[in-house]
């Protein structure tokens, strides 16, 4: 997760208009879910990978590793759809008899599973594109523009900032404990971990009080007002994104029609 954050800042696309990137990834995501077609999903995965790696300057190996993360969830989820139990073994393409029950996969089941697998992968690649090219702060400014309640956006911003603070603290405490043999045995590890958890909680509480004092001293009045970064809004780029989405929708419809005709 921390690496995603780092790459978002150093991405070549991080300076681009965040609203544009948000529009691009969210509409593509929408089309991916709506089209429900394996070729379209695959095309979207390829395009998003190209945009993140070639346009964003992300190392390809890192991108592959990231794509492997949802894989285990996906495979588990998809298996439950592909593998069915039935009393009529003749429907199965592949089957196995176990204690008088037939377990196997049907053609339609496999097709649904494959469709779902690639649809989910396409959706993940859209979200990856957004999170790998857009720093959290920029995302928050998009949310603010979309009229998400201020309180929620402010909280998200503070939570984001505090993740790093607490992680640093936890890291420091872990090192200090490890250097005093806090993790040599299993029971010692549990004890040390409990120590970290409780003192992190107390320190986080103390931090909020300090932060509140610091905010107050700078005239905090219950709402966090900050300057938004200015971005060059290019109508031309918006037009390209809209054209891309329209093209995707058309392609999906044509594909659907031709396949329907074939059937």
């Amino acid at each position: 997760m921390i690496y995603i954050d780092k790459y978002a800042y150093i991405s070549k696309l991080s300076g681009e208009d965040p609203a544009l990137k948000f529009l691009f990834s969210s509409t593509t995501l929408g089309v991916c879910l709506w089209a429900d077609s394996i070729p379209i999903s695959l095309f979207i995965v390829a395009c998003m990978a190209w945009a993140s790696v070639r346009k964003g300057g992300l190392p390809f190996r890192f991108y592959c590793k990231l794509m492997l993360i949802p894989m285990s969830f996906l495979i588990m989820g998809v298996l439950t759809i592909a593998v069915q139990v039935s009393a009529r073994p003749e429907e199965f393409l592949l089957s196995y008899r176990l204690l008088g029950i037939t377990v196997g996969a049907t053609g339609i089941g496999l097709q649904t599973a494959a469709g779902l697998f690639f649809k989910a992968l396409g959706a993940v690649s859209c979200l990856y594109f957004l999170s790998l090219t857009t720093p959290m702060i920029e995302m928050l400014s998009v949310l603010r523009k979309l009229k998400v309640p201020r309180l929620m956006v402010e909280l998200m911003g503070l939570v984001y900032r505090f993740i790093f603070l607490l992680m640093d603290m936890a890291d420091g405490m872990y090192t200090a404990q490890a250097s005093r043999l806090g993790y040599t045995t299993l029971s010692a590890s549990y004890r040390s971990l409990a120590g970290i958890a409780s003192s992190l909680f107390i320190r986080a509480y103390k931090r909020t009080q300090d932060l509140y004092a610091a905010l107050e001293s700078r005239g905090y009045d219950g709402e966090i007002h900050v300057l938004e970064r200015r971005h060059d809004v290019s109508p031309w780029k918006y037009a390209v994104v809209i054209a891309w989405v329209c093209a995707l929708i058309t392609a999906a419809m044509v594909l659907d029609h031709s396949m329907g005709g074939a059937r």
């Binding site: 300076g15 702060i137 900032r161 603070l165 610091a214």
Partner: protein, 287 residues
């Protein structure tokens, strides 16, 4: 003289909710445009005093006067006070709330309800005068300690206050970063800002301050020019403070009859000038 006093406390008492009596009757007058060091060991009440100066803590007894009029502890009074008195906290991580340097620095100026283009200009100015314009689009969690410290100073500069308090600004900083920060302070001083620094480093107080307040266990144990304060042997003994090294050396040289300058040198440069004048070929002149 008295209209020159920008900030004043009269018999200021503050007790924390847990019963710690942190300030026990502070009487202090801060004059405009001065460089003030509040010197004291850990737990002597320096940070608490700063929080009361800013209206974050409300004294239970005694009063705080800003430009001669008592501070009102209502919303308008406090925001007026905080507009003019800024405080740079000791721990940068306790002060930085935003993940973006640019947004972090803009916060104070936005709270002054200034027009956006003024805020933008002030943010750029503040980043420039702290020497960190290149950090503008960085994330705060990727910064080094020294960089964070300077962002904290820019945080306050953007509000353009008349008084800036720095809580232990040079603690945990290496020599180079300390020099850079002292450079920022000197420029602020030239611009007419009143600076108050808390420190436990006698050398910093000696080099930098126009006026030194020594705090001990919640009271002001001594006040005056650095020379006055550090010549007071009894005061130093009572407050467990060391005499600055330069002063010790000069006193020894004087005691041995080697030099006869009237006051000890304040800076390294002045000290070296005195040493230069002792060179053998100038000996006849020196004695």
């Amino acid at each position: 003289m008295s209209e020159n006093i920008i900030l004043e406390t009269r018999d200021l008492h503050y007790t924390y909710p847990d019963g710690t009596h942190a300030l026990k009757g502070i009487n202090m007058a801060i004059r405009k445009g001065r460089k003030i060091a509040v010197l004291g060991s850990n737990g002597s009440g320096k940070s608490t005093l700063f929080l009361t100066f800013n209206g974050i803590l409300k004294p239970q007894k005694g009063g705080l006067l800003f430009k001669g009029s008592p501070v009102r502890y209502n919303r308008a009074g406090l925001s007026e006070l905080r507009k003019r008195i800024g405080i740079v906290f000791q721990d940068p991580d306790a002060q930085l709330f935003s993940a973006s340097v640019h947004q972090e620095v803009s916060f104070g100026a936005m709270n002054l309800k200034l027009p956006e283009d003024v805020v933008r200009r002030r943010v750029d100015d503040a980043l420039r005068s702290t020497g960190i314009p290149h950090l503008k689009s960085k994330a705060t969690h990727f910064l080094s300690y020294g960089e964070k410290k300077r962002v904290c100073i820019a945080d306050i500069l953007v509000m353009e206050p008349e008084v800036i308090m720095f809580d232990e600004p040079t603690s945990c900083l290496d020599a180079q970063h300390t020099l850079q920060i002292m450079d920022v302070f000197n420029r602020l001083h030239k611009g007419g800002t009143t600076l108050i620094m808390s420190t436990h480093d006698v050398e910093v107080a000696w080099n930098w301050a126009d006026e030194v307040f020594i705090m001990k266990e919640g009271v002001v144990a001594g006040a005056g020019s650095p020379h006055e304060v550090f010549s007071d042997e009894k005061l130093l003994q009572d407050t467990c403070l060391e005499k600055p090294l330069v002063m010790k050396v000069i006193e020894q040289l004087k005691a041995c009859g080697i030099i006869h300058t009237p006051g000890p040198p304040r800076t390294e440069k002045e000290f070296f000038e005195i040493m230069q004048s002792l060179r053998p070929n100038k000996k006849a002149g020196a004695f």
